[in-house]
């Protein structure tokens, strides 16, 4: 079991009386890309928010990299090596690409506490390297994010996670708002990550994309995991059946 990077046991989250997530047992191996699917309100984002420390879980265990973890906030998760591309991007629109990549962990040329002088050259060089590694195409690094297309922004957000990550990348609907070409670009980055052997959890509604990118598909329904499918042993129709509740995995029969 030493190649398991992330495992949750009985992960549960209640919002007052709403049971948004119940008893989720999930496992992710090194270098594996897993897609999370499910209807709106099925608990996908809730699940991710517990792992990344954005919210505090009601119950259950999270074992990351062999150790049980209790993240107090997204920062803790980040420091532990979990990088997340959030649905709302989490970029500062008025800053340029290197500043966004290094936001909150700037390279410093001269350390003067909060007034530390920044190492612009170093950050720029590191940014170029990171963008080349993820094959992201950006016309001008010193442009502010505001002036970029949705796809380019998404690429910057992903490049940021890929630069620092370290151990696990989570993407919450990374292509939901993108056009065809931009989606293709983001998918290419994800393939690059796969080739580099970096584990990834991707939330997506796009069946083609999921079958294209993921090794395994985990389906959520009404706050529970109802299926854990190997890509090669399932089909689109099958997955839809799980999502809509027409079918339930045998090992999850009690969840239906």
């Amino acid at each position: 079991m030493s190649d398991v990077i992330l495992r949750t046991e009985g992960l549960t989250k209640h919002y007052g009386g709403v049971h948004a997530l119940q008893d989720a047992n999930f496992e992710l191996r090194m270098g594996e890309h897993v897609a999370i699917m499910g209807d709106n309100g099925a608990g996908k984002s809730t699940f991710v928010r517990q792992i990344t420390g954005v919210e505090q879980r009601t119950g259950g265990k999270i074992i990351f990299n062999g150790q049980e973890v209790h993240f107090k906030g997204p920062l803790d998760a980040r420091e532990a090596g979990i990088e997340t591309v959030f649905q709302n991007l989490a970029l500062a629109d008025d800053l340029d690409v290197p500043s966004n990549l290094f936001l909150g962990r700037e390279k410093v040329w001269l350390n003067l506490g909060p007034f530390s002088i920044l190492d612009f050259k170093g950050m720029r060089a590191a940014t170029e390297k990171a963008l080349l590694r993820t094959a992201v195409k950006i016309p001008n690094l010193s442009n502010s994010i505001r002036k970029m297309s949705g796809g380019q922004r998404q690429c910057v957000a992903i490049a940021r996670t890929a630069t620092f990550a370290s151990k696990l990348i989570i993407m919450d609907e990374p292509t939901a708002a993108l056009g065809v070409q931009e989606t293709a670009q983001v998918e290419n980055i994800i393939r690059t990550l796969k080739a580099n052997g970096e584990p990834l959890i991707i939330i997506s509604h796009n069946m083609r994309q999921v079958f294209d990118l993921a090794d395994r598909i985990v389906v959520f329904r009404r706050g529970r995991i109802v299926a854990n499918l190997n890509k090669h042993e399932t089909s689109g129709q099958d997955v839809v059946a799980y999502i809509t509740g027409a079918k339930t995995g045998t090992e999850y029969a009690d969840a239906a």
Binding site: K137, I138, N140
Partner: protein
């Protein structure tokens, strides 16, 4: 043919399409306004606004006028520097004018002389305690302490109770004005020591150059310019500056990215408060007196300067250079109307038009840029 300069991943980047920095537009506006006064001056009163016309002086420009232009906006300009970093980080500070009043009153009380014309100082606030003829460092520290406390209260309220900056600083604006009136029951505090008066009226340049140069009475300008340079460097080259822009453009993103947003906000308002108190020291030293009504509407003038200078009220955009040019536009207008011997009322009206006009132009430029790419 514009070719790729540093596009990443094989994309062409046309450097010639790069947007002009907004400060350049503001600077052009400044030149235009100066040109208008120059032309109107020659047409209406037959005198030059900018150039020297006095026969017995050998300079190209009218140096006294140019000095006055900067001198009269220096005090508010110092406040505007602090306000710039507040607005860039997505906040607003309405309290600076009142903080000027309160700081001036309190600091001046620690800068009074013991003997006026052979008699004990009639205006002394602390005669029983014997706090008279104190070294100048004491009123300076007291003054900066006032600004620091006011800024700290603003910052803590905004960062930790999450009330809007508008409300928090509005409260401080009202309370600090009350404090400055209560301090000496509405009476002015006067008769400062010579060294305190020297903050604004001394010959700092002469002292610095061991008497090589001498330029009396421009200390406010020197303080304004040095602080502007300092804060330009801070906003451009330090982590602090980067975080100001980051918080102003997307506070949530900054927080998720690991910026200590609350700490930063407290620091931003503390610095703004200190800048207001520096302005108060400069102003009360220049006027040799402090009054409870000092600094009324300064906060609005400071905000107007930053806005004219291209600082976006929604945060994330702007610069100290812009604010300094905005301050100069203010100075030119005041000076120009005096020069044309026009009524001061027109000044106010035109100032209002320029504030609104600057924002309209900026919006229009932003939109065009968004469409044009």
């Amino acid at each position: 043919m514009a070719q790729t300069t540093h596009g990443i991943g094989g994309l062409a980047y046309d450097a010639s399409k790069r947007a002009r920095p907004p400060e350049l537009n503001v600077f052009v506006a400044l030149l235009l306004i100066v040109a208008v006064f120059e032309i109107l001056g020659r047409l209406i009163i037959g005198d030059s606004f900018l150039f020297n016309t006095r026969p017995n002086v050998d300079t190209l420009f009218n140096v006294p006028r140019l000095t006055i232009i900067i001198l009269q906006v220096s005090t508010v300009g110092i406040i505007a520097i602090g306000v710039t970093q507040v607005i860039i980080s997505g906040g607003i500070d309405l309290s600076s004018g009142s903080v000027v009043g309160a700081t001036a009153m309190i600091a001046m009380s620690f800068a009074q002389v013991a003997i006026v014309n052979g008699n004990p100082n009639p205006k002394a606030i602390f005669p029983e305690q014997g706090w008279l003829d104190l070294p100048v460092i004491i009123p300076i520290l007291v003054g900066i302490g006032c600004g620091l406390i006011a800024g700290l209260i603003n910052g803590l309220l905004i960062a930790y109770t999450r009330i809007p900056p508008f409300i928090a600083t509005l409260g401080m604006m009202v309370s600090a004005r009350g404090l400055s009136r209560w301090w000496s029951n509405g009476n002015p505090v006067s008769f400062p020591t010579e060294s305190f008066a020297g903050i604004s009226n001394g010959d700092f340049l002469g002292w610095l150059s061991f008497g090589l140069f001498s330029w009396k009475g421009v200390n406010p300008v020197l303080i304004f310019i040095s602080l502007a340079v300092l804060f330009h460097l801070v906003l451009t080259y330090t982590k602090y500056g980067k975080h100001c822009f980051a918080i102003g453009s997307n506070e949530e993103a900054a927080r998720i990215s690991g910026v200590k947003v609350e700490h930063h906000k407290v620091l931003v308002y503390v610095i703004a408060g200190i800048m207001a108190s520096v302005a108060a020291l400069v102003l009360s030293s220049k006027n040799l007196t402090a009054q409870a009504g000092m600094g009324i509407t300064y906060e609005l003038d400071a905000i107007a300067m930053t806005v004219i200078g291209g600082v976006s009220l929604s945060g994330g955009r702007g610069s100290i250079i812009g604010t300094v040019i905005g301050a100069l536009i203010f100075g030119v207008i005041i000076s120009g109307f005096t020069f044309l011997k026009l009524d001061a009322y027109y000044q106010e009206m035109v100032k209002g038009v320029i504030i609104v006009g600057a924002v309209i132009l900026d919006q229009w430029r932003q939109r065009r840029q968004a469409i044009g790419g």
